[in-house]
């Protein structure tokens, strides 16, 4: 019994409630004519779509920089890479990996500057990260209008310049990972093998990285900066590395998302993309200063499961469209819960 009690306190009531709610949704689904196999395929697809973005939060949490509400900065890096890859006419795997390769230098440069900034404002990272992210999204919105892109697939038809709000990647690298080795079972179920493999590969790399010398040093900085400094680790350097890594993964994450979604969304759409990722990580059991691969994978499945199942099940159950309200309350409720836990604030 005490074990169970300890487990509940560790895991936290909100997470248990969310988990039970999801189980309930899956049990209720057949009764309201929602197909389980199609739902599971949908959940898997959406899991792969957003898992890398969630993974991107891990390094900064580990290094004690808190939840990276500045994820839009990495997303912008990814958008630059994706649009450039299309502009150069790269298709197929060359297009997808080309986008990542083109995005990487931007993401790393942004991350370096952003990391240096966050080192100057220790203890206030989260609020500042949020506004740095917002401001950069707006600055880039101006850039999307004036940068010299001219591929007819991407710019406004009548003006011949300025990127469109949404750009289809159809014919370039749409669903390139999803369709790779995809297994179709029955009419409704497709297993997106390539996508899941890519996510697992990224998670495995991160797992390995956290066990290297640099990775351990980074975790040490997060759990006890004074101790880390005493043992000769450069706190600021480790933090900068974590931010750069996080920004880079944010860029990769958005490109993975786009290939599955089929569209590149520009202008103010990256504004709030950081919040669902944060919510997913926290639902998986991470806290403001500790996160593992298990948190990422479990959290993304739970959160995306919730996002997929609530609209279909709740809407047919209650005959209205309340799922949006539930989504808002669950995702922000879990972030609030994590923020109000007693944890040491790094100064």
């Amino acid at each position: 019994m005490p074990d169970l009690k300890k487990f509940i306190t560790d895991f936290g009531w909100p997470r248990i409630i969310i988990f039970l709610f999801l189980v309930f949704l899956f049990i209720a689904a057949p009764f309201v004519n929602v197909r389980i196999d199609a739902s599971i395929a949908d959940v898997l697809n959406r899991f792969g779509q957003s898992a890398v973005l969630v993974l991107a939060l891990v390094p900064m949490v580990q290094a004690g920089c808190g939840l990276n509400f500045g994820l839009p900065l990495g997303i912008i890096g990814g958008l630059i890479g994706a649009t450039m890859s299309m502009q150069f006419g790269l298709v197929g795997f060359a297009g997808f990996f080309g986008a990542i390769a083109l995005a990487a230098p931007f993401a790393l440069a942004f991350g370096w500057g952003y990391g240096r900034l966050l080192n100057k404002v220790k203890g206030e990272e989260m609020t500042i990260a949020m506004y740095v992210g917002f401001a950069s999204v707006m600055l880039m919105s101006i850039m999307w209008l004036i940068l010299p892109y001219n591929s007819p697939k991407m710019v406004w038809g009548y003006a011949g310049k300025g990127l469109r709000t949404t750009i289809s990647v159809e014919g370039y690298w749409s669903k390139i990972l999803n369709d790779f080795l995809a297994v179709r079972i029955g009419k409704f179920f497709i297993f997106p093998t390539g996508l899941i493999l890519f996510v697992c590969f990224c998670a495995f790399l991160m797992w390995l990285f956290l066990r290297t010398k640099t990775g351990t040093a980074m975790t040490a900085v997060g759990s006890n900066p004074d101790y880390a400094r005493a043992s000769g680790i450069s706190v600021d350097k480790m933090r900068t590395i974590s931010v750069m890594l996080s920004t880079l993964l944010g860029a990769v994450g958005i490109i993975v998302y786009e290939q599955s979604f089929g569209f590149i969304q520009l202008y103010d759409s990256p504004l709030f993309m950081g919040f669902p990722a944060v919510a997913a990580l926290l639902i998986g059991g991470a806290s403001v200063n500790k996160a593992s691969m298990v948190n990422v994978l479990v959290g993304t499945i739970l959160f995306q499961g919730l996002l997929t199942m609530t609209p279909s099940v709740i809407n047919s159950l209650l005959q209205n469209d309340m799922s949006e309200v539930i989504r808002i309350m669950v995702s922000n409720g879990i972030i609030l819960y994590a923020l109000t836990r007693k944890t040491k604030v790094t100064k």
Binding site: F69, L117, K120, V121, K122, G123, E124, M126, T127, I128, M130, Y131, V132, F134, A135, M138, L139, S141, I142, L145, I146, G162, Y267, D268, F275, N320, M322, E324, V325, I326, R327, I328, M329, N332, G333, I335, L336, L339, T340, K342, V345
Partner: protein
């Protein structure tokens, strides 16, 4: 202190205000607007926004940073206005009616907000921000599903065609500018919303008075140092909750004033930008996370809104695209918040480091300008 150093200090302390002043002045000419037009716009916007910005002051005194949770009060005000329109209470009485409904709700929401923030000491700002998102869900649930179903609404014209839930845009015609125009006043080419200004002036007097009474003193003590205040017997948690409750109530009234001037209400999005605009304004006015006063409020509202008036046209004329002006103004809004938060956090760390260094040397000299 030499003259040169004091100029340097002035520039450093007012960096945000000066940068902003420069951008705004530079954008006036390309916008092509006359100074009379800009002047009138600023007068209108002073009446519209000042009350909301003033709502931020008390939590800053109490050391809780910028109260992004003020959005909660704005939601309460909007619920009040929905009922005022539904019951057909016209004119300034409608506004009083809306406030009477909104205030109890905002007291409750403020209490909740204060409780939550007490559990998240040291990260009140980000917590308030997320809490506002969360409550947005609750607000939608209430306005979109409860009103017209669980809670009866008399006039079907404000309901969605499906029979429950409020329409996306609420016409506030019956209370439109009813506060601004109680006493019409025109001086030269300018129209002044004189009663609104009087209400704002009354709030300023309240703030000045509040700082002098025991509760206000307690609040400052909590803001300076929680541990010391606690040792001195100040009920820390209670004082912080009171600061947030007052702020939320003021935000509720402020939102009612804001919307009566606008004349229409975007039911599901009017409150989402409230915190952003208010926070941007007070920071542009030179306030920091820890220190703010009445001048910051008014300088901020004037500067921020002057830029907001001119930037779309300036963008149009300079770059041939009004969208660039619009994005630019949002970039400036978010950027200025980020910049002043960074400057503040940076300075605070430097001062802390300086204080530590001084302690190490064993000097007993008082820290100069430590309160700044």
């Amino acid at each position: 202190m030499s003259g040169k150093r004091s100029i340097g200090r002035f520039l450093r302390d007012n960096a945000v205000v000066l940068i902003f002043l420069a951008i705004t002045v530079a954008a006036i000419k390309p916008s092509g607007y006359s100074l009379t037009y800009i002047g009138q716009e600023i007068i209108t916007r002073l009446g519209r926004n000042s009350f909301l910005v003033l709502a931020l002051l008390l939590p800053i005194f109490a050391g809780m940073g910028l109260n992004f949770g003020m959005t909660l009060g704005a939601m309460a005000g909007q619920i009040g206005l929905i009922f005022a329109v539904d019951w057909g209470v016209a004119g300034w009485r409608g506004l009083v009616f809306a406030v009477l409904i909104g205030v109890p709700i905002s007291v409750f929401l403020g209490w909740v907000c204060g409780k939550v923030m007490n559990k998240a000491k040291g990260r009140e700002m980000v917590t308030g921000y997320i809490l506002a998102f969360f409550m947005d869900g609750v607000y939608q649930f209430f306005v979109l599903y409860m009103l017209g179903q669980a809670i009866p609404i008399r006039s079907s014209s404000i309901l969605l065609s499906r029979g429950y839930g409020i329409r996306n845009t609420l016409n506030l015609q019956i209370v439109r500018q009813s506060l601004d125009t109680i006493v019409p006043l025109k001086i030269g080419p300018f129209v002044f919303p004189i009663v609104t200004f009087l209400v704002i002036a009354a709030l300023c007097v309240f703030v000045v008075w509040f700082k002098k009474i025991k509760l206000g003193q307690d609040m400052r003590a909590v803001g300076n140092d929680i541990v010391v205040a606690d040792a001195a017997g100040v009920p820390v948690e209670r004082t912080r909750i009171i600061a947030i409750i007052i702020s939320t109530v003021l935000a509720c009234v402020g939102q009612v004033i804001f919307l009566q001037n606008m004349g229409t209400m975007a039911t599901y999005s009017a409150h989402t930008q409230t915190g952003f605009f208010a926070v941007a304004a007070i920071l542009v006015g030179g306030a920091s996370v820890k220190r703010a006063g009445l001048p910051n409020v008014f300088i901020g509202v004037i500067l921020l809104h002057a830029l907001f008036v001119v930037s779309p046209m300036a963008g149009q004329r300079l770059f041939g695209s009004a969208m660039i002006g619009e994005y630019f103004r949002q970039f400036i809004g978010y950027g200025i918040i980020a910049l002043s938060l960074v400057l503040y956090a940076w300075r605070a760390r430097k001062e802390a480091a300086a204080a530590r260094a001084q302690q190490r040397e064993g000097e007993s000299a008082p820290v100069n300008g430590g309160a700044a």
